[in-house]
């Protein structure tokens, strides 16, 4: 499965996001795995709700972080692909 801008990513069952007070950051708790989320990864993860396409997520974040849309979309594609390959996101 190769992620493209039209994909509608959604966190798979068994994947839960929470704030970790010990480490002062949001984390993704997954079957037998923990993913530490930096601000960008956390923002992308929050928008992986099955209602936004990768293109839409990228547009929203480009506005929020006042960044170049093409650069943001490349980042989102890369991170969502990583989550798909780790079995944490379905599209």
């Amino acid at each position: 499965m190769i992620v493209n801008p039209a994909c509608m990513p959604v966190l798979r069952r068994g994947v839960r996001r929470r704030f970790d007070a010990t480490r002062g950051q949001n984390v993704l708790l997954c079957p037998e795995r923990v993913i530490m989320l930096d601000d960008i990864a956390d923002a992308i993860t929050q928008l992986c709700d099955g209602r936004n396409s990768v293109a839409e997520i990228s547009r929203i974040l480009a506005v929020r972080f006042a960044a170049d849309a093409a650069v943001v979309e490349a980042d989102v594609l890369g991170f969502v692909q990583e989550l798909v390959d780790k079995g944490l996101v379905a599209t």
């Binding site: 499965m1 798979r12 069952r13 068994g14 994947v15 839960r16 929470r18 970790d20 010990t22 480490r23 984390v27 708790l29 079957p31 037998e32 923990v34 798909v84 390959d85 780790k86 079995g87 379905a90 599209t91």
Partner: protein, 365 residues
């Protein structure tokens, strides 16, 4: 000295009791009896302490954790603290009522082991009648209830021919994840090693089957593959490094860095409840013994990878090189590396098939 980073997860071995008798069980040969187990108050207090220390996940295992009547209560307690509850089970005791109660308690993920692809083969390894069919029924209920499912296929010489069928079975069951784990030779597995060790040709065939399935199922079912150390060139980063990421608590409440740590002579491990868990983790002598890289000798001490694999597995170094301070012989730079490979090849060729099944009575040989 800065204290070590807090652990990410706790492996809670609630009991050593288990209806199955798999000859490769990672539990020690001397199993803890029911009377030696800790009570609900002990485990709830420990989970609270672990959450305060920074643990994010608790892996309930055993033995068979479903034998504990307080399992749902412990899952609910962990979940209420924001700790991710994972159940590692044989699944033969899970009916719908039980599973529903665990799901309602907050259980996020269930890992079910399979011993083969069909009942005859699988049940001859687990040594429990109708176990395989019960596992399949439970696996279907797990996904029907909306929980995440991992199938854990433990592979060795006597079932590797069924690997393609086991992958197909996991996909048919709708597993989110399949862990294909070659037996790791500790505990009962080390005792039964000669009956389990694959040959190299068989292993390479399995590698190819797994690689093809991973490519085919990418994005649908994640396949994690654990290779056997005996045919590796680099050691595994055992437990993510000794005392770096994980701690394990035995049915008696002893806090360990790994499953087999108690096989290492001269180490002292403490019981939870006797001292704060934070202190045991940060300064317990058993944890300090092999944490980091200061304990190392050459070739580890001068190796560029020493902070990556931390010298591999201490228990394997003890078992095969005779000293827990040696480099894990799975490493190509270890003096015992060639001997380890030769041992595996000799045992694989020998073709002994009889197992000594996991039982409370200690092995006779």
């Amino acid at each position: 000295m800065t204290p070590p980073a807090p652990p990410l997860a706790m492996i809670a071995e609630l009991t050593h009791r288990c209806p199955l008798q798999c000859p490769y069980c990672s539990n020690p040969l001397a199993l803890v009896k029911a009377a030696g187990e800790r009570d609900t108050a002990f485990w709830t207090a420990l989970i609270t302490e672990a959450a305060q220390l920074g643990i994010l996940q608790v892996h309930f295992t055993g033995g068979e954790p479903v034998l504990r009547p307080d399992l749902a209560a412990l899952i609910a307690h962990a979940t209420a603290l924001g700790v991710y509850a994972n159940l590692i089970t044989s699944a033969v005791l899970l009916d719908e009522t039980k599973l529903r109660s665990l799901e309602q308690a907050g259980l996020a993920h269930v890992q079910i082991s399979i011993q083969g692809a069909d009942a005859a083969a699988a049940d001859s390894i687990g040594h429990y009648p109708d176990g395989h069919e019960k596992k399949l029924a439970a696996a279907r209920m797990v996904t029907a209830l909306g929980m995440s499912l991992t199938i854990n296929a433990v592979v060795h010489r006597q079932n590797l021919a069924q690997l393609p069928a086991m992958i197909e079975l996991a996909a048919t069951l709708g597993a989110d994840r399949l862990e294909i784990a070659h037996v790791q030779y500790h505990g009962w597995a080390q005792h039964n090693r000669a009956a389990l060790m694959p040959g190299e040709a068989q292993l390479r065939e399995a590698d190819a089957v797994v690689a093809q399935a991973q490519a085919q199922l990418r994005g649908k079912m994640l396949i994690d593959y654990v290779i056997p150390d005996y045919y590796a060139d680099t050691p595994k980063t055992c437990m993510g490094g000794w005392g770096q990421k994980l701690l394990l608590v035995t049915p008696e409440g002893r806090v360990l860095p790994c499953h087999a740590a108690e096989t290492i002579p001269g180490l002292t491990f403490e019981h939870a409840g006797e001292r704060p868990l934070r202190d045991i983790w940060q300064s317990g002598p058993g944890f300090a013994a092999f944490r980091g890289t200061a304990w190392m000798r050459d070739p580890c001490a001068s190796c560029a990878l020493k902070g990556v694999d931390f010298g591999g597995c201490r228990c394997q170094a003890l078992a095969l090189a005779g000293d827990a301070r040696e480099t894990d012989p799975a490493c190509q730079y270890a003096p015992g590396h060639a001997r380890m490979r030769a041992l595996a090849e000799a045992e694989a060729a020998n073709a002994a098939e009889a197992f000594e099944y996991r039982r409370y009575a200690p092995p006779q040989r």
